[in-house]
């Protein structure tokens, strides 16, 4: 067990990062039924915003300064790309987010250039040694930010007025409109929160390994995490992130020597297996359709 513990801690910390990003993805899907294929680019934009502020601010302040801008960015995306497509087919919206992803890749390169950047500052060191096991500062920060945020979001969705309105819109948008709920404003806010969460994940990643166009690859991890958790479950996203993070770490330890390269495929294999048993994911809403 002492041998296994560092792997579990590393896996949980990494999974928290997956969960953080998946939270934003699931939130948008739950509220608007839009699959945001540009979620990796949201993270990329957030990381570059953090980098820009970090040029003249300490990193924690730079992250705090990037968050409102990221929120604004989310609002703009909703206003410019998603709202004009309301009422169109799901495919049209999906294609729009795919196009948005390509456009954002280009814009990021135009604005910040293709060179790799690194953050000169760092987050306060919270790493510690306990019982012969070293827990890195990066792991502590990932867990410290992702878990309370995830649980807070879950609580807010269940209990707060805003959360109830989001749920009402996701249940039946037309009825929500008829009841006088300002759906457009609320949905724009959801996109803002999604961009904010992605920025936080991007900032944590940037602090660990710098900023560059390759950060976008983390966006690919969102899909297995979100599907495993249940596409419409905020709690499921966090849980699935943690599970996949731990499974990847364990796979790197035990399976990789036997099946080189397997860890890369593991999230998708797990998703496949879970979907066979629970087609709606771990915590997703069970939908029964009758002919």
């Amino acid at each position: 067990m002492p041998d296994l513990l560092p792997y579990l801690i590393g896996g949980l910390a990494n999974g928290a990062l997956y969960g953080l990003l998946a939270l934003g993805f699931v939130l948008v899907y739950r509220a608007t039924s839009v699959v945001n294929f540009a979620i990796g680019e949201f993270l990329l934009v957030g990381a570059y915003l953090t980098y820009t502020f970090a040029l003249f601010l300490p990193l924690p302040l730079a992250i705090l300064a990037a968050l409102p801008l990221a929120f604004l960015f989310g609002l703009l995306v909703e206003r410019g790309f998603v709202r004009p497509l309301l009422g169109r087919s799901v495919v049209a919206v999906i294609m729009a987010t795919i196009g948005l992803a390509a456009a954002l890749d280009g814009v990021v390169q135009l604005l910040w250039g293709p060179d790799l950047k690194y953050l000169s500052g760092s987050l306060p060191n919270l790493g510690f040694q306990a019982g012969g096991i070293f827990v890195s500062s990066r792991a502590v920060w990932n867990l410290l930010l992702a878990l309370p945020l995830g649980l807070g979001l879950l609580f807010a969705l269940r209990r707060s007025r805003y959360g109830i309105l989001v749920r009402a819109i996701s249940e039946r948008e037309v009825a929500a409109l008829a009841l006088g709920i300002p759906t457009a404003r609320i949905l724009a806010g959801v996109w803002g929160i999604s961009a904010l969460l992605a920025t936080l994940a991007g900032a944590l990643l940037a602090a660990a390994s710098g900023v560059g166009p390759n950060l976008v690859f983390l966006g690919l991890k969102v899909f297995p995490v979100a599907i495993l958790g249940g596409l419409d479950s905020v709690g499921g996203a966090l849980l699935a992130g943690l599970i996949l993070g731990v499974l990847e770490a364990l796979s790197q330890r035990y399976l990789e020597p036997l099946l080189p390269g397997f860890t890369e495929a593991l999230p998708f294999v797990v998703v496949l297996l879970v979907l066979l048993v629970r087609p709606y994911g771990l915590l997703g809403e069970r939908q029964i359709e009758r002919a």
Binding site: D3, P6, Y7, I9, G10, G11, A13, N14, L17, D105, G106, Q109, G113, P114, D115, L116, Y118, G127, F134, S136, R138, A139, L205, A208, S209, G210, G212, P213, N214, V216, F217, L218, G245, E248, A249, Q252, R253, E256, P257, P260, G261, T263, E264
Partner: protein, 394 residues
């Protein structure tokens, strides 16, 4: 002058006047060098630096060296996005659009793309090189027109293993590599060669090309307890994270890498954890001011109003290739055979040329350049310092 004679002279004059521009145009037809580079996508930083190197190299050839045998050298740039399908499409577009007597050289990206294109390149007799140093490409019997402008990844491993033997005879070595063609390429050779040199490969770690947490990789390494860890198949996507995590987890092994890890961004990203990281590198660095090419390029860029601050290794490698290709073209023109076949002939005997010191010399052995130096990262200096002279690998 009689009327008939006058008309005859007028006719000849008129013909000459009408025909000369066409003759002049034919003589001034450019020779073309096409590059397929990852200008977008995850490796855009390397692709754009490389493009800049080719632009400088080609401009230098045209403006300072007077072109190639009186003809202008023209650069074609296409984006691959580091995607084999997109790269293949770009290649097909270029070769179908350009005339075979003008397009004399193509420079591609990645091991995957180059291996995919290799049979077609061989069929077309098109001189080709790439960002890849894959062993399979340096095979003149199968691919007589493909040249690797540096040592292969196998050669790089050889250089690192020799250094390890110098530092510690019976060393315990771990190999960490990405699950890509680039990552896997030299692994069989490294394993075989380490055994032959009396060393032990105590651990192999296969990873995705990029990841967000190196803890499990480093914990596995700590269990294996190697003296040296060789990283292969990452272009700065994972090395800084691995080095930082290794330092945090108290791993004492010495880390090493090959050409694509030899960039200053690694030191900047990994911070103090980069200290001592040893790499193979076979061009000059921008800060090697004793190298004539570096001074020449600095002056040239200044004259053109271009940024003269640090240029990455990908830039240096590309300038070297552009200058070597132009030199081989110049020699082919001198020999009256400025064609694809003529260029291959000249590349095979261009060993006396070293692009003003950017490399040791383009002395191809089996169509690759089996020489490298080893450099070690110094965090205090913020750069890689040479720890060996040229090592001959064949």
């Amino acid at each position: 002058m009689k009327r008939r004679e006058f008309l005859k002279k007028l006719g000849v004059g008129a013909l000459a006047a009408v025909g000369m521009p066409y003759i002049a145009t034919a003589q001034a037809r450019p020779v073309k060098l096409a590059t397929l580079l990852p200008l977008t996508g995850p490796f855009a930083f390397a692709g754009n630096a490389s493009r800049e190197g080719f632009v400088d190299g080609v401009d230098y050839v045209n403006e300072v060296l007077g072109g190639v045998g009186g003809r202008k050298l023209e650069l074609i740039v296409e984006d691959t996005g580091y995607d084999v399908a997109k790269g293949t499409a770009a290649f097909n577009r270029v070769v179908s659009r350009e005339r075979p007597d003008e397009l004399l050289f193509v420079y591609g990206d990645s091991t995957g793309l180059s291996k995919a294109l290799a049979p077609e390149i061989a069929r077309m007799g098109l001189p080709y090189s790439a960002t890849s140093f894959a062993n399979e490409l340096a095979d003149p019997k199968t691919y007589p027109t493909i040249f690797v402008f540096g040592p292969t990844y196998n050669d790089m491993m050889e250089a690192l293993l020799r250094q390890i033997r110098l530092q510690k005879g019976r060393a315990r070595i771990a190999l960490v590599y990405s699950n890509t063609e680039f990552g896997r390429d030299p692994i069989p050779y490294a394993k075989e060669r380490a055994k032959a040199l009396g060393m032990e490969i105590v651990h192999e770690e296969v990873t995705p090309p990029a990841f967000t947490d190196a803890t499990p990789v480093v914990l596995n390494l700590r269990r294996a307890n190697p003296d040296f860890v060789i990283l292969q198949g990452y272009v700065l996507s994972a090395e800084p994270l691995i080095l930082r995590t290794a330092r945090e987890q108290g791993l004492r092994a010495q880390f090493m890498g090959t050409y694509y890890s030899a960039e200053l961004a690694l030191i900047q990203r990994a911070g103090p954890a980069a200290e001592g990281f040893t790499v193979t590198y076979h061009n000059a660095y921008w800060y090697d001011t004793l190298v004539p090419a570096v001074n020449e390029l600095r002056k040239f860029r200044q004259k053109k109003g271009r940024d003269t601050s640090y240029r990455p290794t990908y830039y240096m490698g590309s300038v070297a290739v552009a200058l070597a290709i132009a030199e081989a073209m110049r020699r082919a023109a001198q020999a009256g055979k400025l064609t694809r076949a003529g260029l291959v002939e000249q590349l095979e005997k261009i060993g006396d040329y070293n692009a003003m010191g950017l490399t040791r010399g383009f002395q191809f052995v089996n169509h690759r350049l089996p020489y490298t130096k080893l450099y070690r990262a110094s965090v205090k200096d913020g750069r890689f310092n040479a720890i060996t002279d040229w090592i001959k690998l064949a």
